[in-house]
């Protein structure tokens, strides 16, 4: 495929892997976090980590928008889906995320009208096609997807669609990163910055990471060469004793972000005082809700939502795994109470999460040579 294969060239990949090898200090162990779930997916899909020396470890970050939705929120969604006359729409991967009693897929099997959509606009279209039903869109995701939800709500407003509302579970990327960085036992050396989020928010919001915490950040694209190049750029900063925000994904990410997207977000959303993250607990100002001006399109205000709070089991140590303090198998519930079939924490929910990958593939993926 043109314009894609160029970024997947195995020879260039080998050359970059060689460069990375030359940047690594023998005996030093590097832990780099890829913040975004999209990066995790690419790393897995192309076997990128297999091309890195064993002492360069990639830690999967909190940026999988599906995995971070807490059980209680899934339970709320299921309760909404079961309401009379409701068509509940969400992205496909959200349907498999377990709440305390089951998934949205289970709710569908029980008779709830749960439908998978690829875009919030599809949900709005379903509303227009079913004027006698009420369509709820379960909005999830970071700043990447929030603008499309915002535009959809604006369109619903301008077209006068009355049978449409949104259960807003959008989250923002900076607060969880700050929460991780605040931790005194953090073991990360640098960050591969989230490319998709940055197309919206720009590179500027990540300046606090080098400024306040002294860690390098390289915002990266999602092709395997992008990721390898970002790793090389972080290692270069570390070897030169620098730390700053660099932009590997300049072909898409402007430093100041997408102003129109930010504008529409600030019109439609406002920050929640706090939002619960699966495995990470409550984080201040980390979630979005609909602003007063859009209250009539807020599913949580139109319906009585139970507002379920299901505490993560105390033994869940996702936070420590994410910070790189412990390995997945060192968590107290790993492999016993928490398995891919019955996940507790965010790291076990997605098949690409650190714990699920370790559970499924054991140490296999880590059998690389140590420099």
């Amino acid at each position: 495929m043109k314009f894609v294969d160029e970024f997947r060239d195995p020879e260039l990949g080998r050359a970059l892997a060689g460069e990375i090898l030359s940047l690594v200090e023998p005996g030093r162990h590097y832990k780099l976090m890829e913040v975004c779930g999209g990066h995790t997916h690419s790393i897995y899909k192309y076997g990128v980590d297999d091309l890195l020396p064993a002492n360069v470890e990639l830690v999967h970050g909190p940026g999988c928008p599906v995995c971070v939705i807490p059980m209680g929120r899934v339970d709320d969604g299921i309760a909404l889906a079961h309401q009379d006359g409701v068509i509940f729409t969400c992205f496909g991967d959200m349907m498999r995320v377990p709440g305390s009693t089951g998934t949205l897929l289970d709710a569908k099997a029980e008779g709830a009208d749960v439908r998978m959509v690829y875009s919030p606009l599809d949900a709005l279209r379903i509303a227009k096609q079913n004027p006698d039903r009420h369509v709820v869109f379960f909005a999830i995701g970071f700043e990447t997807t929030a603008p499309s939800t915002a535009l959809t709500l604006k369109r619903a407003r301008s077209e006068g669609v009355k049978n449409f509302s949104c259960m807003c579970s959008h989250v923002t990327i900076v607060p969880p990163l700050r929460a991780l960085l605040e931790s005194p036992d953090l073991r990360l050396d640098g960050f591969i910055g989230p490319g998709h989020v940055s197309t919206v928010v720009g590179a500027r919001p990540f300046e606090f990471i080098p400024a306040d915490y002294g860690k390098p950040v390289v915002i990266a694209g999602f092709e395997p060469l992008d990721i390898l190049q970002a790793v090389a750029m972080i290692l270069t900063q570390l070897s030169e004793g620098r730390c700053r925000v660099e932009n590997q994904y300049k072909r898409v990410v402007p430093y100041g972000g997408n102003l129109r997207a930010l504008e529409v977000m600030s019109e439609v959303f406002e920050l929640r005082p706090h939002f619960e993250w699966r495995g990470l607990g409550f984080i201040s100002h980390s979630g979005l809700k609909l602003s007063e001006a859009y209250a009539d399109l807020d599913a949580e205000r139109r319906f009585s939502v139970p507002g379920v709070r299901v505490a993560d089991p105390k033994a869940c140590q996702c936070g420590e795994v994410l910070k790189g303090v412990i390995k997945p198998w060192e968590c107290k519930v790993f492999g016993t109470a928490c398995t891919p079939e019955r996940p507790i924490g965010t790291c076990m929910v997605s098949s690409e999460g650190a714990c699920a990958a370790y559970y499924n593939f054991g140490r296999f993926a880590r059998e690389r040579e140590v420099v």
Partner: protein, 364 residues
């Protein structure tokens, strides 16, 4: 004991617990059936291994092949059955009627059996137009002629409007097992070459686009076709050196490989670059975030052949019309048992896992 040794001992212990849990036969513990049970991945496996086999299983069913082997006097036979619930009924490259013949004769073919007779059950929905029904009956007749098989018995039922998407079809197929080779997952050997009979992902992608849920324009046709000519050529070229075959339908090539790796406690390594994918399929899969390895085919088989016979077998596959793109995609190894690994086109190595969710229901 040093701390490091204690730590690694604990890790080994936990890996051991996981290995034991994974090695156990899948249990069926769900409260109800969800679409995931029909997807060909882990949930399907739990349904089959956790409920059906324990309740019904004799030796033939326990093999979990595409067809069951039966011996009646001197006659070495194979029996298979399949239900077809595809939506929409007609799609580029084929229709439900054609699938209902090809899918069943192919289950026999990859079990090393030539189909001789089919049964046909039609479940028709009130309101189905006679024109649509006639078209499918003609498609069935045509496909049966092409496959050289006769429909010898059948049944019709009608259900109320809203209880079937136009029509469902069930076919059963009886085949005569070919004496040139005995096929079984148990015969997989380290070193066996893995052959694929052509490009992958066309059926599933064609169906997905035919549903019109995505505004994507592409000319992708289902690959539905009978596989007996390919099997016949393989057996002629490599005889008993052909150890096992599967048709890569629901869940795609990845699911078939995982199933066999698990059943035979071997490992497999696949070279992604050697797997043929049509550019239009690759493009659609890229846009939709789907791996073509997990997308259904309706006319592609995976064959495991002893290394010495692999070249001859591959040449035989390529000589069959529609098999021009056949390719050797990997080989069977010993470690790590039960796992399929991929050498990606980019150069990295990773595990190709079983399908967990359901990318696309109701494809066959």
């Amino acid at each position: 004991m040093s701390d490091a040794a204690a730590v690694s001992e604990r890790e080994q212990k936990i890996l051991g617990i996981i290995a034991t849990a994974r090695g156990k036969r899948a249990k069926f513990r769900d409260e109800q059936i969800t679409m995931a049970h029909g997807a060909g991945g882990k949930a399907t496996q739990s349904l089959i291994e956790g409920l059906l086999v324990p309740a019904l299983g004799g030796a033939a069913l326990g093999e979990l092949g595409d067809a069951g082997a039966i011996q009646v006097g001197d006659a070495a036979l194979a029996l298979t059955t399949d239900a077809y619930v595809v939506k929409p009924l007609r799609f580029p490259g084929g229709s439900i009627g054609e699938l209902a013949v090809n899918g069943t004769v192919n289950d026999l073919a990859v079990s090393g059996a030539r189909a001789v007779a089919l049964s046909l059950s039609l479940v028709l929905e009130e309101g189905l137009t006679a024109e649509a029904l006639r078209a499918e009956v003609e498609a069935i007749a045509r496909a049966a002629r092409t496959a050289g098989v006769e429909v010898v018995t059948g049944d019709t039922k009608v259900v109320e409007r809203g209880h079937a998407d136009g029509m469902y079809i069930c076919t059963a197929g009886l085949g005569v097992r070919d004496p040139r080779s005995r096929l079984s997952p148990a015969f997989l050997r380290p070193g066996d070459r893995i052959l694929l009979s052509g490009s992958i992902g066309e059926h599933g992608t064609a169906i997905m686009l035919a549903r019109g849920e995505f505004d994507l324009d592409a000319t992708i046709e289902s690959d539905t076709r009978p596989l007996w000519p390919a099997v016949d050529a393989l057996l002629e070229a490599a005889g008993p050196e052909v150890h096992c075959m599967r048709d890569a339908t629901r869940g795609g090539v990845a699911s078939v490989l995982n199933e066999l790796a698990r059943a035979s406690a071997v490992s497999m390594i696949i070279r992604e670059a050697a797997v043929p994918v049509d550019p239009a399929v690759a493009g659609a899969a890229e846009l939709l975030g789907i791996d073509p390895m997990y997308v259904a085919n309706e006319g592609k088989l995976v064959a495991f052949v002893a290394p010495d016979a692999a070249d001859a077998a591959l040449a035989a596959l390529r000589s069959v019309p529609g098999g021009e793109q056949a390719s050797e995609i990997g080989e069977v190894r010993t470690e790590p048992p039960g796992m399929v690994l991929v050498q990606t086109s980019f150069g990295g190595r990773r595990v190709m896992d079983q399908l967990v969710g359901d990318p696309l229901p109701r494809i066959c």
